[in-house]
């Protein structure tokens, strides 16, 4: 790992095809800066991307990466990290990827507390399929598949994370570049599963959850005297549906990551040329 890594080293030579103005540009920049700032380089970083507009991030970033199956990014990241505790793992996906098709994995990834970062680029809409309701869309948000709105409450990902025993729960806004980077960085540095939901506006299909909307409504938890180590305070803020927050809702300073709980600390890519030493003991057991 070299010390002169710049965030642009994490940029690939592919030009993003996101719509001009898409929130994902800012989200990705913050991720790259956070990775560089925390001393990582592309050769020791593994990015797992989901499917959807957000999933393209694996193509636009330069690192070891897997662009996988819709909704399964977290299990892939889990496998990479268990096999390679020495590698920095960052998982990125959208609100559909994480809270709809992959919702089951989200809950369990949170419970496992694997030492990796999960960035959800939440635009409250399905963009790549041209504008259908997402699990975080508002109840009355009109789309081609929900002409009168979904008429269901949106998923509250922070509440889901809190209820599943999360050790790091945060919210950022892609347009607030410095704060977004700072929050992602805290998630990377967290000993355990660092979960950041990022408001990453879709300028093409979502005319409700816009840059202006978030700029006007976001309250920064830092300025609201919020104590991230206070789980009850976190619960209150997370369940407060009248406000949009950014910042760190909750961080368990005593978090014990999966690899420490389970003693998984070896680089599993290194193998001998034959059966491992002592393998004959396995045969003896069957006497």
């Amino acid at each position: 790992m070299s010390s002169d890594i710049r965030f642009t080293d994490f940029k690939s030579d592919k030009q993003p095809t996101w719509c001009p103005g898409c929130g994902d540009f800012g989200t990705m920049n913050g991720m790259m800066k956070a990775l560089a700032e925390t001393g990582n380089d592309p050769d020791n970083t593994f990015v797992v991307a989901g499917i959807g507009c957000s999933g393209k991030i694996g193509t636009y970033m330069h690192s070891y990466a897997l662009h996988g199956v819709h909704g399964r990014a977290l299990p892939v990241g889990t496998g990479v990290k268990m096999a390679r505790p020495d590698i920095e793992v960052m998982v990125a996906g959208g609100d559909g990827d994480g809270y709809s098709i992959g919702a089951g994995h989200f809950v369990h990834a949170v419970r496992r507390n694997v030492d990796m970062t999960y960035v959800v680029m939440d635009n409250r809409i399905y963009g790549l399929t041209k504008g259908q309701a997402s699990p975080t869309s508002r109840e009355d948000f009109e789309t081609s598949t929900s002409p009168d709105g979904p008429k269901q409450p949106p998923v509250n990902p922070h509440a889901l994370a809190l209820a599943s025993g999360a050790t790091f729960i945060a919210q950022s806004f892609s347009s607030d570049a410095l704060r977004h980077q700072e929050i992602i960085q805290k998630a990377v540095e967290h000993d355990g599963f660092g979960f950041v939901n990022v408001y990453s506006p879709c300028v093409t299909f979502n005319d409700v959850d816009t840059y202006d909307y978030f700029r006007d409504s976001l309250v920064d938890l830092k300025e609201a005297d919020h104590d991230p180590s206070d789980r009850d305070a976190a619960k209150e803020a997370i369940l407060d549906s009248d406000k949009e927050y950014q910042g760190i809702f909750y961080q368990d300073e005593n978090s014990v990551p999966y690899h420490e709980q389970h003693g998984v600390d070896e680089d599993m890519s290194v193998l001998p040329d034959g059966a491992p030493e002592g393998a004959t003991d396995l045969v003896r057991e069957f006497y």
Binding site: S12, D13, K14, P42, D43, N44, T45, F46, V48, G58, T59, H62, S63, Y64, A65, L66, H67, G68, V69, G71, R72, L74, P75, V76, G77, T78, G79, V80, K81, M82, A83, R84, D86, I87, G104, H105, V107, H108, H262, G263, V264, E266, D267, M268, S269, L271, P272, D273, G274, A275, P276, G278, A279, T280, L282, V283, R284, F286, Y287
Partner: protein, 623 residues
Amino acid sequence: MYAIFTLNTIYNWTFVLNSVDSSFQKPFDESGETCDIAMAADFNWAVGGEAGDGIDSTGKIFAQALSRAGRHVFTSKDFASRIRGGYTAYKVRTSVDKVQSVVDRLDVLIALTPRTIEENLDELHGGSVIIYDGERTTMQNVEIPDEMIGLDVPLKRLAEEAGGAIMRNVVALGAACEVAEFPIENLDSALEKRFGDKGQKLVDNNKEAARAGQSYVAKEYDHEFDYDLETTDEDYVLLNGDEAIGMGAIAAGCRFYAGYPITPATDVMTYLTGRIEQYGGHVVQAEDELSAINMALGAARGGARAMTATSGPGIDLMTETFGLIATSETPLVICNVMRSGPSTGMPTKQEQGDLNHMLYGGHGEIPRFVVAPTTIDECFWKTVEAFNLAEKYQLPVYLTADLSMAVTEQTFSPEAFDMDEVEIDRGFVVDESNIDGHLSESGGFQPHEITDDGISPRAFPGTADGAHMSTGLEHDEQGRRTEDTEMRVEQVDKRNRKVETAEAREDWSPREFGDADAENLVITWGSNEGALVEALDLLADDGVDVRVLSVPYVFPRPDLTDAVEAAENVVVVECNETGQFADIVEHDVLERVDRVNKYTGVRFKADELAAEIKATLTTGVEA
């Protein structure tokens, strides 16, 4: 001229075989009379009762005692349901010679319930001994069928006298030892193995319980039984297919296993748990099979040898990720321990019904290997081979066993699992020293480099200059998305070229048994081999000579054309209804049609099609 017949267990044996040749007959008739001579050296024993009666551990102790006494053992389980109340039985066939199949015969039955006797009437014969506890409420009025010998042993009472009612099955084991003239010291050794970690007192109590059963029979029944289970000095190990697969995985360097519990594959996971950690590995119980296979995929991308194991319903879910594994050229071993389908089917029953799914499952077209070990010891070796194949050819390998093999225990010489013979070939992996030769002009690593043999370099995370993306999208040599028609075709061809390379470089031979010159050819795959090999002797007794080809590789697979064409009658034996492997055999020996294919991502155009067809018709068939 040859004719192919399929022999599927779902049909009646006699019916199907008669359609082949009227001289065939069912190897054992209902009375068991025809097999008396062939089976004389065998001893067939079972313990049966309700799920929850400790049937499994009782059977296992007896099997272990026989194995430790230098006798060959082959076990099987009847289990209808895991919930308490379902009938379950553990059967043991033993001989001083190798045994590799079950037979329709029972010499001694420990019956804890009346249903145990009813379920086994077909296998019991005149002279069979039934050990039961007439003091047990449900067994008080039990009727022992004519000519069979009922031994009413107060199992519970004797167990209580020895220290606890829970040992009543061990009392029964002692009684069985007396009937079979099997030295009870061998049982001691198995009891020590089973209860040793729970304290000497418990071991001693169990030994006493066994002796109580033994002496009760000796004293109360003045009867000469015909059995004499002699012991030998041979050392054997006793294990089932799932255990052999798990042990093979550790031997092969598998360090990461993710799975979701499912019958009959769970034993692979329980075997690895607590053991793989001692070799630097880890087991994760995932939230579902979708997650399990993606975790394994992630670990494999990290450079670990990784595996998951499941059964049919799990394979359905895992198929979602199958194309990604294959197109990202990730080495992964997916173990499918088949059971009766479709849907939930009969979860505790045997079937080999997933062959087509493994060969063709998933949208799009992508090569995958399917390896199907034919015996329990081969489960070990084929697992090792599956890992090597996966890494050498950078693709998913289905390692498929089935319920019968998974839950059956068999004895082997420990040399059958010689760890010094295990070789690990990780294929084409580059590191800092040689990665330079595999970078693009702009310096990007090329994990999908177009090569003559189709095999591209792999770089594990952490390798300097090796950073690259793997994707389910069609990609260029660097793994970057592309829809370029030429690159698409080059990548598809490259991936398929790996199969051609493997076909040329590896040995895909079938295992051969019987009379090589026989006009009757029987082909099978998977776990039927043992029963078929024993059936050969019975057929030979009836004057029917048979050549058997037992095929452990479904894809790539041996070319059986010559063998099929040389035979007069060809029978394909498999545990399914439609004859999925028989279809493959027929397919392979068929004359080929001409083919016009296009996979650029662009549809056929009329003028192009006319030209292609004309060219094909002029140049003739391309096989």
